[in-house]
């Protein structure tokens, strides 16, 4: 794995490996000294062309916990506002010998362009591009779901897939890169994905996605999902009238107190409510739902740091000439002559 650009081309094996490494990173987050020396001397640049709080802070915390140096490059107040192109910015970062670039960009495909262009040698991590993908968000959602299920079953979560899990994603799918990344990743990991939203906020061609689409939230909830993921209504991307009023949207598509009570009456005691944040309280999710014990919003933020640590570790450690996974990572002392073949398989 050289770059992390999308979940659509992420294999189940690589996704599971990343989640398993994140499991060990989460254990580090619970210690007194939350720091590992693995990326000492490496430089991670956060290149954010769009506003973000939690994703940028989460990547920064992840890089720092791995002892990497972090440069935050906020586009406001930088040469980009003077008209610098992505190429020139990238080459500037290359000249500063960045080892990884975490990029968020309003244009879909900007991270892929950066990775394929040859402008830089650094590993590229997509932190959200336009309405395309947000892979680390989907990975942290999968991680949260996996841990939730492991806790219910009293089993270790490492190594397990999401097979048999039913996840309902609700709301503004059209503008949501989180929804797209989750559809690909969750199905890769074996979960069943349901989508629900007003027809105006579902993209053209959704019929070819590996999921079932509902045009009524209560019909979708009747499918008894194990998790309900509410998407943020992205008002800043809306340049047309997609629904008559926010009140109507909230009533038909919001996860309000009535629907929260419905989960209880349906006996869905283990169904969780997820939200990628930032939340529009009272619009797509009610305050009671956001603060209920079912809500995983804060767990998602916490898991975000672990998942991003795993992504940075897997992209930046290891011999750059050979990025294939070794089976025999077990033998300890250093000369390669000691590494035995994996016999336990």
């Amino acid at each position: 794995m050289k770059h992390l650009l999308s979940t659509q081309d992420l294999s189940a094996r690589n996704a599971l490996r990343l989640l398993d490494v994140a499991e060990e990173m989460a254990a580090v987050g619970e210690r007194e000294i939350k720091k590992l020396p693995a990326l000492r001397g490496r430089t991670v640049v956060n290149l954010f062309y769009e506003d973000s709080t939690r994703t940028r802070i989460s990547f920064e915390a992840a890089a720092k916990r791995l002892s990497a140096d972090v440069i935050n490059f906020a586009v406001k107040g930088s040469s980009v506002s003077k008209g610098e192109s992505l190429k020139d910015t990238a080459q500037t970062l290359e000249a500063m010998s960045a080892d990884a670039v975490v990029i968020r960009h309003p244009a879909s495909g900007a991270p892929a362009r950066l990775a394929a262009s040859g402008w830089i040698d650094a590993a590229v991590v997509n932190a959200g591009d336009g309405t395309h993908e947000h892979p680390t968000q989907a990975l942290l959602d999968a991680f949260t779901l996996r841990r939730h299920r492991a806790r219910l079953g009293g089993l270790p979560s490492a190594g397990s897939t999401l097979a048999g899990l039913k996840v309902l994603i609700v709301g503004d799918v059209l503008h949501s890169r989180v929804a797209r990344s989750n559809v690909w990743l969750l199905t890769t990991l074996g979960a069943e994905v349901l989508l629900a939203g007003p027809p105006t906020l579902l993209p053209v061609g959704i019929g070819s996605w590996p999921c079932t689409v509902f045009y009524n939230l209560d019909d979708a909830l009747a499918q008894r999902p194990d998790a309900v993921m509410m998407l943020r209504l992205q008002a800043e991307r809306m340049n047309a009238a997609f629904f008559p009023s926010t009140r109507e949207y909230s009533r038909r598509w919001g996860f309000d107190d009535g629907r929260l009570a419905l989960l209880d009456t349906m006996g869905l005691d283990d169904t969780v409510i997820m939200h990628p944040g930032p939340m529009n309280r009272g619009l797509e999710i009610s305050a009671a739902a956001a603060d209920s014990p079912r809500s995983t919003v804060l767990a998602q933020v916490r898991n975000g740091v672990s998942v991003r640590m795993a992504a940075l570790y897997l992209l930046l450690s290891g011999d750059p000439r050979d990025d294939d996974e070794p089976d025999a990572h077990d033998r300890t002392d250093s000369p390669p002559i000691l590494i035995p073949e994996g016999r336990a398989s």
Partner: protein, 195 residues
């Protein structure tokens, strides 16, 4: 005994059989108790992968001598992957779990357990990892095999067997908890040489 392996040009020599390993571990367990003047404050941390089953076996033997010891409560696993100095020289390694005993390691006598002591770099990484987890009163090192060729000023306190080797040879430790060879669990230490 020397036997030609299926791969061309590799000779294998069994240097410790199951009974030899068991005797060596029994002696090390007694040495640990003797050096520590009993089992008080003792914690055994195995370095993955094969250090951990060895630590479990040592804890069992200590418990059979001192019945006040619960072997599960003094055994743990210490992963050193993220502290290695050769992360950039090998394909990416996935870290394994670190599990400390419930009592933690602060003010304990920690015995690091590994199968083969070679360059000493793993133990250097383990000492760094320990410092991030707590402050033991003392740290000691027990290994099943010391094969020499040290690259750092590190030595073991308890050694199962000193094996003079050439750096061309490989020392392989097979433990029944982990290794299945031809469908059966095997306990042995083998030296392989590429002729």
């Amino acid at each position: 005994m020397t036997m030609p392996a299926s791969d061309s040009g590799i000779t294998k020599r069994v240097v410790l059989a199951a009974a030899d390993i068991d005797r060596a571990l029994t002696r090390i367990a007694h040495e640990i108790l003797e050096a520590n003047k009993g089992s008080r404050n003792l914690v055994l941390l195995g370095i993955p992968r094969r250090g951990f089953p060895l630590a479990q076996r040592l804890a069992q033997k200590i418990a059979s001598v001192d019945t006040s010891v619960d072997p599960d409560l003094i055994t743990g696993q210490l992963d050193v992957t993220m502290y290695r100095d050769d992360l950039r020289r090998h394909p990416t390694r996935s870290p394994l779990a670190t599990q400390l005993p419930p009592s933690g390691i602060d003010d304990k006598v920690v015995v690091l357990v590994d199968d083969v002591l070679y360059s000493g770099r793993t133990i250097r990484a383990a000492l760094d990892a320990l410092a991030d987890l707590g402050r033991p009163r003392a740290v000691r090192l027990a290994v099943l095999v010391d094969r020499g060729h040290r690259e750092l000023p590190i030595r073991a306190d308890h050694v199962g067997k000193n094996l003079p080797t050439s750096s061309r040879e490989r020392v392989r430790v097979h433990l029944a908890e982990i290794d299945l060879i031809g469908g059966s669990a095997v306990n042995e230490v083998v030296i392989e040489d590429r002729a």
